[in-house]
């Protein structure tokens, strides 16, 4: 299942790291986000202490509680989120909107980092959808396959139209 997800996401032009430990994930996120001016981070990232670690690394953070969130988000270079569930076939990750987890974090910045727990991977989209439909539905749930893309220019895939140009998925043990 993990292999299917990794292969599928890579085929969709995602970069994939892991499975790694929480400590490794924290270090990897800080390494990726460091050096960027503004980084947006949702509350649902399953890496304890990530906010403090980013702050200690000198990264300027934009958090969903910020009253100027919507105005500042277009200036963020990276958006960091968790995910509810992942589907191995077809390969995709599902994000949910909630308090502390705005929809825009995975959409507006040019780069998206998503942390997925291995235990949240399901074999198929159909299996994941049965589970999702049976539970409490969020105001918005988004399946994401990879970086934003279009086939509108002579039917050749071109990446980075409106959403992120780069998506990195970190699998957490």
């Amino acid at each position: 299942m993990i292999d299917d997800l990794v292969t599928g996401l890579r085929a969709n032009a995602c970069s994939v790291t892991g499975p790694i430990t929480v400590d490794e994930a924290r270090a990897a996120i800080v390494a990726r986000a460091g050096g960027h001016e503004l980084v947006a981070c949702n509350a649902d990232v399953p890496v304890p202490g990530i906010i403090e670690a980013l702050g200690a690394a000198g990264v300027e953070l934009l958090l969903p509680g910020d009253p100027a969130w919507s105005a500042r988000l277009p200036g963020a270079a990276v958006g960091i989120t968790g995910s509810l569930v992942a589907s191995a076939r077809p390969a995709a990750i599902a994000l949910v909107a909630a308090q502390g987890s705005p929809r825009g974090t995975s959409l507006v910045p040019a780069s998206h980092i998503c942390v997925v727990r291995v235990a949240d991977i399901r074999a198929t989209l159909a299996a994941a959808m049965i589970e999702i439909a049976a539970g409490e539905l969020p105001s918005a749930l988004t399946w994401i396959g990879g970086p934003s893309r279009t086939g509108d220019l002579e039917m050749v895939t071109t990446l980075g139209v409106h959403g992120p140009r780069a998506v990195e998925v970190m699998l957490l043990e």
């Binding site: 599928g8 969709n12 969903p64 969130w69 919507s70 277009p74 589907s87 076939r89 077809p90 390969a91 995709a92 909107a97 909630a98 308090q99 705005p102 929809r103 825009g104 959409l107 198929t124 989209l125 159909a126 299996a127 994941a128 959808m129 049965i130 999702i132 439909a133 049976a134 539905l137 969020p138 105001s139 918005a140 749930l141 988004t142 399946w143 994401i144 396959g145 990879g146 970086p147 934003s148 893309r149 279009t150 086939g151 509108d152 220019l153 002579e154 039917m155 050749v156 071109t158 980075g160 139209v161 409106h162 959403g163 992120p164």
Partner: protein, 468 residues
């Protein structure tokens, strides 16, 4: 059709030869070398979509059954959907006609003092010609799907429901975007995409209203499902204060879990992707404590004669999930592209839907422009017998006779009379043999086909010679 029943021709709609019939328009399209060059790109889609679609052979049966289960009780599922949406705080509007749907959307826009609308690609909003209605009301309308944006800037109409600018080559697209940019842009996909990204980003952040279609709406949970690749659909449902979704009534499905089957089938047939890049699953407006998403969510149920198709031989047309697979395989579409159809829906599904949704007032000649090869029926992921419907429509929707059709009718009536009597038959076959296949007035037909050469001696003559 307009509200007063008059014929409504949207601006920029008939861009090939207004007033001419399908037969004439296809001739113009076939004679356009740049269009023909652009249409070669369809081969790319055909290959990838074919491979992906073959991955789910048994899913066609399941998907076809889900769609037919919906149609068996369309009104019941719609009522359930309306109740579930309302319980989630969604405003539901029912529009019998395109005019009514336009009125609803304009009313919402006025109520909120909307100045800019961002739209994601939707055939339903094309069907109700919403873009022009918004502009007539003084509201800026920005198409945000890259292909549709190109088509809007060019003052045209989409020519393919999945790839709206399939009729344009890359240099043509560069010219359209460079005119808007007031600067020189490179004939380079990355550069053109980057320019459009920057331009449309500003529009998203400015917009007060997002308008989208709906791919599926689940009756059990009151949930809307939107499929996009670029992320524009996500922007339209994330940034503006208000979101309006225009939903043709057949988009309802019984259960949200059904999308586990329908989504991969839709996207594999549409673009060859195992799943589209983004699937947005919406259950109500922004909730208390959430940072973004629309404060108000409206859904417009659009009928536009769809209910009149229930319990007729065309009912299954409402199973269509708008994947575009029938366009990609159609030998006619592949040679003429969408504009020749002079209707919102093109290709085989357009040949069926256009006359049906207009009560025969539009596209009555479309069913005649078909080789009846049934490639569309085979390609359809929900098993709609499109070829059979095209044939049936020839009987049910009589088209005004064009000049070539009149000539054909005269020919066939003479043939019928001649071959109704043994003498007429003998005389005509003798004439045919004597002509040695050189029949006057057939050049248009024989230019691309081989006229069968008649045998030197007929079977009757040989029988008489050998046994008589």
């Amino acid at each position: 059709m307009t509200a007063d029943g008059g014929h409504h021709v949207p601006r920029g709609h008939a861009i090939v030869t207004p007033g001419a019939d399908f037969h004439d328009r296809t001739a113009v399209a076939v004679g356009d070398p740049v269009l023909q060059q652009a249409l070669h790109n369809l081969d790319r889609r055909l290959r990838t979509a074919g491979e992906a679609a073959d991955a789910h052979p048994d899913w066609k049966d399941r998907a076809a059954e889900i769609r037919r289960e919906t149609l068996r009780d369309l009104d019941g599922w719609l009522d359930r959907l309306e109740r579930a949406l309302t319980a989630r705080g969604v405003h539901v509007h029912r529009a019998a006609s395109p005019a009514e749907a336009r009125r609803v959307v304009l009313g919402i826009a006025r109520e909120h003092g909307v100045k800019t609308v961002v739209k994601s690609k939707s055939m339903a909003t094309e069907e109700i010609d919403l873009g022009n209605a918004l502009e007539d009301a003084g509201i800026a309308r920005v198409e945000t799907d890259l292909g549709e944006y190109i088509v809007q800037l060019a003052g045209e109409r989409p020519s393919h429901m999945i790839t709206p600018a399939i009729h344009k080559t890359l240099p043509q697209i560069r010219d359209v975007l460079a005119r808007e940019a007031h600067s020189d842009l490179a004939v380079d996909r990355e550069a053109l995409t980057a320019w459009a990204r920057g331009r449309l980003r500003g529009e998203f952040l400015r917009a007060d209203l997002g308008v989208t279609g709906v791919n599926f709406a689940a009756a059990d949970t009151g949930t809307l499902v939107l499929v996009t690749n670029e992320g524009n659909g996500r922007f339209c449902t994330t940034v503006p204060r208000v979101h309006v979704a225009v939903m043709p009534i057949e988009k309802v499905i019984p259960r949200l879990a059904d999308v586990g089957v329908l989504l991969p089938l839709l996207t594999s047939h549409a673009t060859g992707q195992a799943l589209s890049n983004y699937v947005t699953i919406i259950s109500g407006p922004r909730r208390e404590g959430e940072t973004d998403g629309p404060e108000e969510l409206h859904v417009v149920f659009l009928d536009n004669r769809r209910r009149t198709l229930l319990h007729t031989q065309y009912e299954e047309m409402l199973a269509c999930i708008r994947c575009g697979a029938c366009l990609n395989v159609c030998p006619v579409y592949r040679n003429v592209s969408g504009h020749a159809y002079d209707s919102v829906y093109s290709g085989p599904m357009g040949k069926v839907l256009t006359p049906l949704l207009s009560g025969g007032a539009e596209g009555a000649d479309l069913p005649y422009g078909s080789s009846l090869c049934h490639a569309c029926s085979d390609a359809c992921p929900v098993k709609i017998p499109l070829g059979d419907m095209i044939l049936a429509l020839r009987a049910d929707v009589p088209a005004a006779a064009s000049a070539p059709r009149r000539r054909r009718r005269i020919f066939w009536s003479l043939w019928a009379r001649a071959w109704s009597s043994p003498r007429g038959y003998r005389v005509s076959t003798r004439l045919g043999r004597a002509s040695r296949g050189r029949v006057p007035g057939l050049r248009a037909w024989t230019a691309t086909r081989e006229l069968p050469r008649p045998a030197r001696e007929s079977f009757r003559d040989r029988w008489a010679r050998e046994h008589g």
